[in-house]
Amino acid sequence: MFRKFKVIFIFYKGYIIPSLLLNLIMIFLEIVPAVIIIYKIFLATLVIFWYLRPSKSDKLIFYYNLGLKNRSLFGIAFIYDLILTAACLYIISII
């Protein structure tokens, strides 16, 4: 189980910096947390559609080799992103 989360983190790692920057921009623009989450859901949907195009599905073969399904891969990666977003909101609120 731990291995599964570790593998999905390898996938998510590439999105940490862009997501962090996006969070900071939206927080700086005083966008309310609920709207930030809606933006994130929209962007995550775009990312998923990008990966699931036949020409791009090869990029996921490493994860498929480890038995991961699309649902787990994208779902848990999105949870990681929600945790990052929540952490950003919390840190900004206590500064």
């Binding site: 090869d58 073969i61 498929y64 080799n65 480890l66 038995g67 399904k69």
Partner: protein, 219 residues
């Protein structure tokens, strides 16, 4: 384990790529797959693996239909033509994730001992390919699909990998395709050729001449 794929129909942009495909692979044998460029060999491997969804297909494992994507069974590993591992993944980490034996790898390839903390992106094409083949071959799995495994490999490495394949075939069902057809011919116990969208069981080099895959008198 016996793997069969039948009744494959794949269309792409309105063009028929594969139809009337049947292929059988069994434990203890290496099944070779040959065909000219763009004939659909890689697509067929992706269909078996489950990362490409065709219009029709029937996969059977030990005579029982398997209706889900095969990779979800965790019984299969697939080495694609392109680099398999993320560039920023360390080699040692890949061995842990694939549950392959690092000690066995460095005893076969001592020159890799210094690479344990190196990332895949820093390896040369040949080093990367060799590590990928070894990981795929030695991880826990019952079915192995190898798409052009010998690309970028030096003759010495090809020889070592060939020996490894001969050993591993006793525990695994292996399907192999490569443009270096002589290696495939040497290794394969069963051979299929994809020609004009269909699969053909090949019984000997003369069949390859008959289907114009190789020139007459090549052997």
């Amino acid at each position: 384990m016996k793997l069969e794929i039948d009744n494959v129909e794949l269309n792409y942009s309105g063009k028929k790529i594969l139809s009337g495909i049947y292929l059988k692979a069994e434990k203890g044998q290496i099944t070779g797959l040959l065909g000219s460029n763009g004939c659909g060999k890689s697509s067929l491997l992706k269909i078996i693996f489950g990362s490409l969804k065709p219009k029709n297909k029937l996969i059977k494992i030990n005579n029982n239909p398997f209706l889900k994507r095969l990779y979800t069974s965790k019984k299969i590993k697939y080495l694609p033509q392109h680099p398999l591992f993320p560039k920023d993944l360390k080699i040692r980490q890949a061995f842990l994730l694939f549950e392959a034996e690092w000690e066995m790898f460095i005893s076969a390839f001592p020159e890799f001992k210094k690479h344990s903390e190196v990332r895949f992106g820093k390896l040369s094409g040949g080093e990367r390919r060799l590590t990928e083949i070894f990981l795929v071959m030695n991880s826990y799995s019952e079915i192995i699909l190898l798409d052009e495994p010998f690309t970028h490999l030096s003759p010495l490495y090809i020889e070592i990998i060939t020996d490894l394949l001969q050993k591993e075939k006793h525990q695994k069902t292996i399907i192999l395709t490569d443009h270096l057809y002589r290696h495939v011919l040497d290794l394969a116990d069963n051979l299929y050729l994809i020609k004009d969208r269909h699969s053909h069981l090949i019984k000997g080099p003369t069949d390859l001449e008959k289907y114009n895959y190789i020139a007459a008198n090549s052997f």
